[in-house]
């Protein structure tokens, strides 16, 4: 047995190094260590697939005016909550990368074009985006305890903050070149979406 000790030490050393230096798993929900609410709050900011269409919609609504921004401010988090609840309760874990990407491209292109959408269309887009991404989020959350439900509230709070900041800024734009910069942001989001679609269909 003694002659095998070096090999055993090598094994435990390898195991220890592997466990220490292995990066954290890229699970869908962020683990902040502050509890499920903050996990949900942080989730939006570390998930570009969710954040990009939200940014595009918030800026689009803001460019249309404060009334549109206020509608998205409340419609999007509520729709996201409803979608998350549906995903949490009903759906098995699903991913729809192509559908998510197409929504991102559409929202980015609408922002780039500064499309004069009517009020109902902007509200409808907010509800559509909230239900789609919310249900996908919800389907991936833990269903065995209450942490999933609490983290959904954190996501909704993050949405409220992001939409209020971005839509508020976009609504207050008066200088023409700033409006163009916002539209350029939309074209970048659409471009990222197009590349993502290429990745998905690769």
């Amino acid at each position: 047995m003694r002659m095998h000790r070096p090999r055993s030490i090598l094994f435990w050393l390898t195991l220890a190094i592997t466990l220490i230096v292995t990066p954290s798993a890229q699970a869908h929900l962020m683990n902040t260590g502050f509890g499920p609410f903050y996990d949900g709050l942080t989730h939006l900011f570390v998930t570009p697939e969710d954040l990009l269409p939200v940014i595009a919609l918030a800026l689009l609504a803001g460019l249309r005016g404060p009334r549109f921004g206020r509608a998205v401010l409340f419609a999007l988090p509520v729709a996201w909550l409803v979608g998350s609840a549906a995903g949490l309760l009903l759906a098995p874990q699903v991913t729809l990368p192509v559908a998510e990407t197409i929504v991102t491209i559409a929202l980015g292109a609408l922002l780039a074009a500064d499309c004069p959408l009517p009020f109902a269309a902007v509200g409808g887009l907010a509800i559509l985006l909230g239900l789609l991404h919310g249900s996908l989020n919800g389907s991936e959350l833990p269903k065995t305890n209450a942490s999933g439900q609490i983290s959904v509230v954190g996501v909704a709070a993050a949405l409220f903050v992001v939409v209020s900041l971005l839509a508020g800024q976009a609504a207050s734009v008066r200088v023409p070149w700033v409006r163009i910069a916002v539209r350029v942001a939309g074209s970048w989001i659409a471009a990222i979406g197009l590349l993502l679609l290429g990745w998905s269909l690769h």
Binding site: M1, T14, R183
Partner: protein, 215 residues
């Protein structure tokens, strides 16, 4: 029994050794070193490699900056239409490249783009907006397609794409920033000179593309 005992111990040690080896192999397989291996090769692992890709080739840099310079030279609305449209058209070309849709003569188009856009800046060409948009859009598809075919699958397509688009946009912004010197008489001459340099670069890359030498 005497014969049995050592053999059992030996078997135990062998089995234990085999288990250890299997566990080590299992942990090494679970450890995602493969993702890190991509980084040095400049492949698709995240934001940094995506950001690096558009600025890693001089032919791409010259064309992107020339688009911005020409837009600034043309003035509004071209100055803001081109940066809004170009990333989307280029990404569309990138999507085609990623999907494996083949386009002929891409290297020639890229070399021609630097030549044509540099020459347009040098000559202070002022075509109608839709003609300028078609010229720029055509070259944008060629550049995007070349990027798309060069992109291997990596750990994070999202972050890679974000880095890629931001770098491209910043190259345009750099070109627009340079092009703003057009407002002053001396700057106008300097901008035309910069266009000539881009065009000469285009001739070099065209020669490389025709002779089949790697750029």
């Amino acid at each position: 029994m005497k014969h049995f005992q050592p053999r059992t111990m030996k078997n135990f040690v062998q089995r234990a050794g085999a288990a250890h080896r299997s566990l080590v192999i299992l942990f090494l397989f679970l450890y995602p070193l493969a993702a890190f291996a991509h980084k040095r090769g400049g492949e698709a692992i995240g934001f940094a490699s995506g950001f690096e890709h558009p600025i890693s080739g001089l032919d791409h840099i010259l064309a992107m900056v020339a688009v911005g310079m020409w837009g600034a030279q043309l003035g509004a609305p071209a100055m803001w239409v081109l940066p809004v449209v170009f990333p989307m058209v280029m990404a569309f070309g990138g999507m085609m490249g990623l999907m494996g849709i083949k386009l002929p003569g891409i290297e020639l188009c890229i070399a021609l783009s630097a030549l044509a856009l540099g020459f347009a800046v040098f000559r202070e060409a002022r075509p109608k907006l839709w003609i300028a948009a078609i010229i720029v859009g055509f070259f944008a598809i060629a550049h995007g397609h070349a990027h798309g075919t060069e992109l291997p699958l990596g750990a994070s397509g999202v972050l890679y794409s974000i880095g890629f688009v931001i770098a491209t946009g910043l190259l345009h912004a750099l070109g627009i920033g340079i092009g703003l010197v057009h407002r002053w008489p001396a700057g106008r001459i300097a901008l035309r000179f910069a266009g000539a340099i881009v065009a000469v670069g285009g001739v070099f890359f065209l020669w490389k593309a025709i002779s089949g030498e790697p750029v």
